[in-house]
């Protein structure tokens, strides 16, 4: 199917960018390992025969295997957004604290 080639192309571009970044900055090696694994597993799923993935779907009680992957992705994304929001909220509070301390020190009468 064409979609498999398109997605594989996109993943290849992402992986190349990641590798280039790690070559420039070796400290990001762990990032390459994590995302390399993530996209690698994704590639396996993309190229697995349809009936193999469907067996996975039946295992979860969902008709098609691809549906299981979509559901899991949505759950993961929601969780990820929630965590990011929490992080941003904490950062905002810290920034305000810093800005306030500076303002208090520089108050002029």
């Amino acid at each position: 199917m064409i979609i498999q080639y398109i997605v594989t192309g996109i993943i290849a571009v992402i992986l190349v960018q990641l590798i280039v970044r790690v070559i420039k900055d070796r400290t990001q090696f762990f990032k390459l390992l994590f995302w390399g694994l993530f996209w690698g597993v994704s590639l396996i799923f993309i190229w697995l025969p349809t009936n193999t993935i469907d067996k996975l779907g039946q295992l979860f009680g969902v008709g098609r295997g691809i549906d299981v992957l979509v559901y899991l992705s949505v759950v993961f994304l929601f969780y990820y957004i929630f965590r990011q929001n929490e992080k941003v909220g904490k950062l905002e509070k810290q920034i305000t604290k810093l800005v306030r301390e500076l303002a208090k020190q520089n108050a002029k009468s």
Partner: protein, 227 residues
């Protein structure tokens, strides 16, 4: 005596044209302890206040929102020994004439906080604003179980103890609802008094948009769910 122990906290954002008039009016009414917190304005409001008034002035180096600026102002006022704290807007909407009565009500009635309300007496409030504010009243009741006639009025008078307890955590416009939420949850003794709001073209242009009201509501719901 009371006025010398009272600090007016004014959060300011891009109000260089109005702020000196506001300070002048406050001074004429005998309020000389004024803390202006410039919240990362793009204009020269900070310098204008510093060079032309007797107010204590400071600056947030980046914009953090009205709630954050009020909290900074209150902390400065508390550090300088304030006994009473007043929240006052920098755009000329509030009327200095209301302050004596509010302060008097606070002290004589032994209230923790006195809140200004534009709905108790006749105020010419634009229809769009009236609808948003009425919805805000209902929304605040749902969230905090406190029924007031005006929930987003920035004119407030409180004791130093109350200011310490409030400790505003919401940096942006949600602070107005946060204050009411804390009035209820901390069981503070409060009273609403009628105040005059001057709706000028200037203040209207700076006012809140409907889209922002939705944004405020979403943030409040989200913070309620987390607390």
């Amino acid at each position: 005596m009371t006025k010398s122990q009272t600090y007016i906290t004014i959060p300011m954002y891009n109000d260089e044209k109005m702020i000196l008039n506001v300070i002048k009016d406050l001074n004429s009414a005998g309020y000389n302890n004024i803390v202006v917190v410039d919240d990362g304005s793009k204009d020269n409001g900070y310098d204008v206040v510093k060079d032309n008034s007797n107010a204590i002035v400071t600056k947030h180096i980046i914009n953090r929102g009205q709630g954050a600026a009020l909290q900074t102002g209150m902390e400065i006022a508390l550090d300088r020994g304030a006994k009473y704290i007043i929240h006052f807007d920098s755009d000329g909407q509030h009327d200095v004439k209301d302050l004596d009565h509010m302060l008097d009500t606070l002290i004589k009635g032994k209230y923790d906080i006195v809140l200004g309300s534009r709905f108790i007496q006749e105020n010419k409030i634009p229809l769009k604003k009236r609808i948003i504010l009425r919805l805000g009243i209902f929304f605040t009741f749902l969230l905090s179980q406190i029924w007031l006639t005006d929930v987003h009025n920035g004119l407030r008078v409180m004791t130093a103890e109350t200011a310490k307890k409030l400790d505003l955590q919401h940096d942006r416009m949600e602070h107005a609802s946060e204050i009411l939420d804390k009035v209820k949850s901390l069981n503070l003794k409060y009273k609403e008094v009628p105040v005059t709001i001057h709706y000028t073209d200037y203040s209207q242009a700076k006012g809140q948009r409907i889209s922002n009201s939705i944004n405020i509501a979403m943030k409040l719901i989200s913070s309620k769910l987390r607390s």
